[in-house]
Each structure stands twice: as structure tokens, then as C-alpha cells.
């Protein structure tokens, strides 16, 4: 069941309000919605709320055989499934265009940018490596699934602890959680996606579009950066063409946003670490 198109009144009002300098929910153009991070009891489970958009990420690991041509590299897999729970427009088993774009963006942002050190996942070269799997569940769709999913994925990876391993010669012992404290993954940098939507013939750019803004937009672009101002990915799939100085302007805004969000993620992780100690 496809989502109904918005009524003409909504479309015209949104565009007129943007021309006047206002967004429907009262935000300024470059404001993200309120970001809330909630950690689960287990390591590697985090729920991200970006306004009304909710995404849940869960990390799990297992030991498998590596590829023969890459004997020292572990695996990092992302599984994104958009279920009807998020929106009536999604159907189980059938991938919409949006779903494909979201999963490809997350793969590009996380895996190609080498955020997670896959070489560090090796236990015994050629025989045993860790395979890390990130399951991303979309609970509520109110626009900007990509940014929320990216924040959820990287925060879950930062939060996750894998079992400690001791290798003596050929003998591999995977310690249980009782024997040894689990070990965090080695994450090089924290890539954060920032999505921009374009309106008014390319003159107006807004950050973090809501569902209605996404339905009315003329084009969109997602920039993935980290705090060190390195561009991990830039995706502009179709939509209205933009000038180069507008793209650079978006990048400047994204740098500021990424710094804010990274600080918030790290503060949340530290608070949760204290809670974990207090609980034990």
C-alpha cells in the first residue's frame, strides 16, 4: 500500500512557509531534530530517536572462516530491513527504491570508509575471524531514515563488546563473559551522515527533512563526514541539479552538525558506561 501523496494544501503551505523562512515544525533551516540515544541492557543495542523517526540497531558477532583471498580480514555486515512497522508504504520482502538507497548509503559510509578495523577482527589468519553483524530495524518513519540509521549503527558498534580471545599457537580460547571482560571493537573514526533537502528551485536547503518535507522536496543530498573533516561518502542520487558553491555550503553546515552529534554520542556512551559500572 503506497503512502498517499500529500494534499495540495500541505504541499503549497510547506513551500510558501519555506519561502518565508519557516519550517513546519518550527525548526531553523540547519537544525537537526532532538536526538535521543537509549542503550539496551546488552552491549551493542541502541535505539535512536530523531524527532519521531525511530531506529533500533543491534550488533552481534560470531567466529567464521575468512575468504581465502583475504585471510586476515574479518567481516562487517549491515542488514537493513524496512518493515511495515515503520510505514505502511513498506512491504516485507519487496525492496523499494528508498530501501536500496538507505542500505547502500550505510554500507558506503561505514564499510568503505574503514570506520571499523576489519584487520583487528582476525583471530587466526586463514582460519578464524570475527564476523560482526549489525541489524538495523526501522521502527517509525518520519523522514531522514539514513541519518538516524547511521547514528544508530555507529553508536551500536561503539557500544558493542566482543568476547576476549587468547591464541596460544594453534589453540584458540574464546573466553565467556564470566571469565574475562569483553573487549570493545577498534573503531578508527565516527562517520555521521547529514542529509539535506532542496526546495524553491534549489535556493533553499534544509537539514534533516521530516516525512512531509521529503515528499515535497525537489532533490536531496547526503554527506557523510567525521569530526576530522574527512568526507567518507557523498551521495546525490537524482533530483534537482545544484551549484558547486551550494554543495560547499552544505559541507560547511555538515561539519558543524557532525561535531555536535559526535559530542552527543560520546557523552551518551560515557553516561551509559558509568551506569553499567553502577549496575554491577
Amino acid at each position: 500500500m503506497r503512502d498517499a501523496d500529500p494534499s495540495t494544501n500541505e504541499r503549497e503551505f510547506l513551500l510558501a512557509a519555506l519561502k518565508d523562512g519557516a519550517r513546519i515544525d518550527g525548526r531553523k533551516f540547519y537544525d537537526f531534530r532532538t536526538l535521543r540515544l537509549t542503550f539496551g541492557a546488552e552491549y551493542g543495542a541502541v535505539e535512536v530517536q530523531l524527532g519521531n523517526t525511530r531506529v533500533l540497531a543491534k550488533v552481534s558477532c560470531e567466529v567464521i572462516r575468512p575468504y581465502t583471498d583475504k585471510p586476515t580480514e574479518g567481516f562487517l555486515m549491515f542488514n537493513t530491513e524496512l518493515s511495515p512497522m515503520a510505514s505502511a508504504a513498506f512491504e516485507v520482502g519487496r525492496q523499494t527504491d528508498e530501501e536500496v538507497l538507505v542500505s547502500r548509503l550505510i554500507e558506503k559510509a561505514m564499510r568503505r570508509s574503514r570506520a571499523l578495523d576489519t584487520e583487528g577482527l582476525c583471530i587466526v589468519a586463514g582460519e578464524k575471524v570475527w564476523s560482526i553483524r549489525v541489524d538495523i530495524h526501522f521502527l517509525d518513519h518520519d523522514g531522514n531514515l539514513v541519518d538516524a540509521a547511521c547514528i544508530a549503527a555507529i553508536t551500536a558498534l561503539l557500544h558493542f563488546r566482543r568476547p576476549d580471545v587468547t591464541v596460544v599457537g594453534e589453540d584458540v580460547t574464546i573466553h565467556t563473559l564470566e571469565q574475562r571482560n569483553p573487549v570493545p571493537l577498534s573503531i578508527h573514526h565516527i562517520p555521521i551522515c547529514t542529509t539535506f533537502a532542496f526546495f524553491n528551485n534549489g535556493e533553499r536547503m534544509v537539514v534533516d527533512p521530516t516525512f512531509l518535507e521529503e515528499q515535497v522536496k525537489e532533490g536531496d543530498m547526503t554527506i557523510t563526514l567525521n569530526v576530522h573533516k574527512e568526507v567518507c561518502a557523498l551521495s546525490k542520487a537524482g533530483g534537482i541539479p545544484m551549484e558547486i558553491d551550494q554543495i560547499l555550503q552544505c559541507t560547511k553546515v555538515a561539519v558543524v552538525k557532525v561535531a555536535e552529534i559526535t559530542a552527543q554520542i560520546q557523552a551518551a556512551l560515557e553516561a551509559d558506561a558509568k551506569n553499567q559500572i553502577a549496575r554491577k
Binding site: A4, D5, P6, S7, T8, N9, E10, R11, E12, F13, L14, A16, A17, D20, A22, R23, I24, D25, G26
Partner: protein, 243 residues
Amino acid sequence: MASITTEEESKLLIVLPGDQLPESGLMEDSSAAHRLTLGPGLAPMDDDSITAVKAGILKHNAVGNRWWVESNQRRYVAAQGESIIGVVTGKSAEHYKVDIGASQPALLGVLAFEGATKRNKPNHNIGDLLYCRVSMANKDMEAELECMNPTTGKADGFGELKGGFVIKISLGLARRLLDPKNLVLRLLGQHIPFEMAVGTNGKVWVNSANAQHTILICNAIRNSEYLNSAECSAMVKSLVEKM
């Protein structure tokens, strides 16, 4: 299945689906007739007992000995006689297909407007917002709408809604907004002149002089769902001061 004892009428009684209501408690007030009127959320069972089928607050009106459950949900189920806001999604020779937020689109006859004849009928486009009345609804067929008062044949406020903005809210909040004594609307009306149409399908249309005011009103209405009166006044005051 839990059994409930209704102690006092003034206490808030929360029921869950499957809760049985005691026969004795319900017949106390009916001095005149031994008749009981069941509203939404209650259903008689085979063994003559009454069970709640929706989760919510049990309400009672001594006039006519009416009992019902005030529940809340977001998905609309069409019921006859209700006024709703719909979006035109399709046109055919005889009907408009209107999306009212139910599981099926509803049908609006092309001639179901005030003073419409075959020669002179209104022309609505896809995407238009219409304020209509549900003329027929049951679970087996698509609901049917009309844009006029059935007894008088006059428009009575039904028809196309031009301009403004429409937001989606829960059904419970929509019913509360229809109350003439609603606090949020009264407070907003003291500061900003606006016009509004409430659809019992959870859609509210707001129109005012400029876009900023409309956005403010929409956000105030959305926020007011879970606030009590004191918090409501504080919220409206803070929103108006920011203007």
C-alpha cells in the same frame, strides 16, 4: 478475565479488553426503565454479561443509562454521521476516490454537493482537501461520503478547504477538540485569529493570516494531547511570547 467492582461513579475506572462489567453496578441508576445503552467499546456477550472490547476509561451518563469506553487510537474506522477531512486521490465518472485515513479509500459521489446537477457540478482535482460527512459506512464495503447536510441539502460548512495546513493527530485528541470548551483553542483564539476544521478521522485543518501563525497553532494543538490545563496554558503562553 478480570471482574471489576464499580465503587464510585467519580473514580476513574480503566478497563482493558476482556474485562467483565458487573450487571448489578450498571443497573443502579436506572430508576425508570431497565434499559441499558451501550456505546463504543462495550459489547454484550452470549451469557448476558457485558465485556469491554477496547482499552480506555469507562464513562457513564445517567441520562438514558449510557455506558461507554473512551479509548484512543490513531487509525480511523469510518462510522456513519461523522464529519471528516479527506484528500481526493482519484476521479471517475460518478465518484471521487477520497483518502480518509481508513484502511480503504472512500467514495464521494460527484453530485453529492449543494445544488449540484449534471450540468452544474463542482470540479475537484487530485490533492484537494474536502470536509465531508460519512453517509454510509460498514465493514464490508468502502465508506461513502457526501458534502452536504442530508436533511436540508445545504452545504453547512462541508466542501473544499482552501489554503491553510492540515495535521494528523490521534482520534481521541480530535474528539476533544470538538468540545466547545476546549482550553487550547480558546487560549490560542485570544491571541491569534484563525479558522479551523476538525475531522473525527484524526485530521485538523488550520488557516490563519500568515504562515508563522498557522505553524504555531498546529504545533500547539499537537503538543496539547498529553498536557493538563495548567501545562496547556503555560505552553500556549510560551509559544505566543516567542512570536
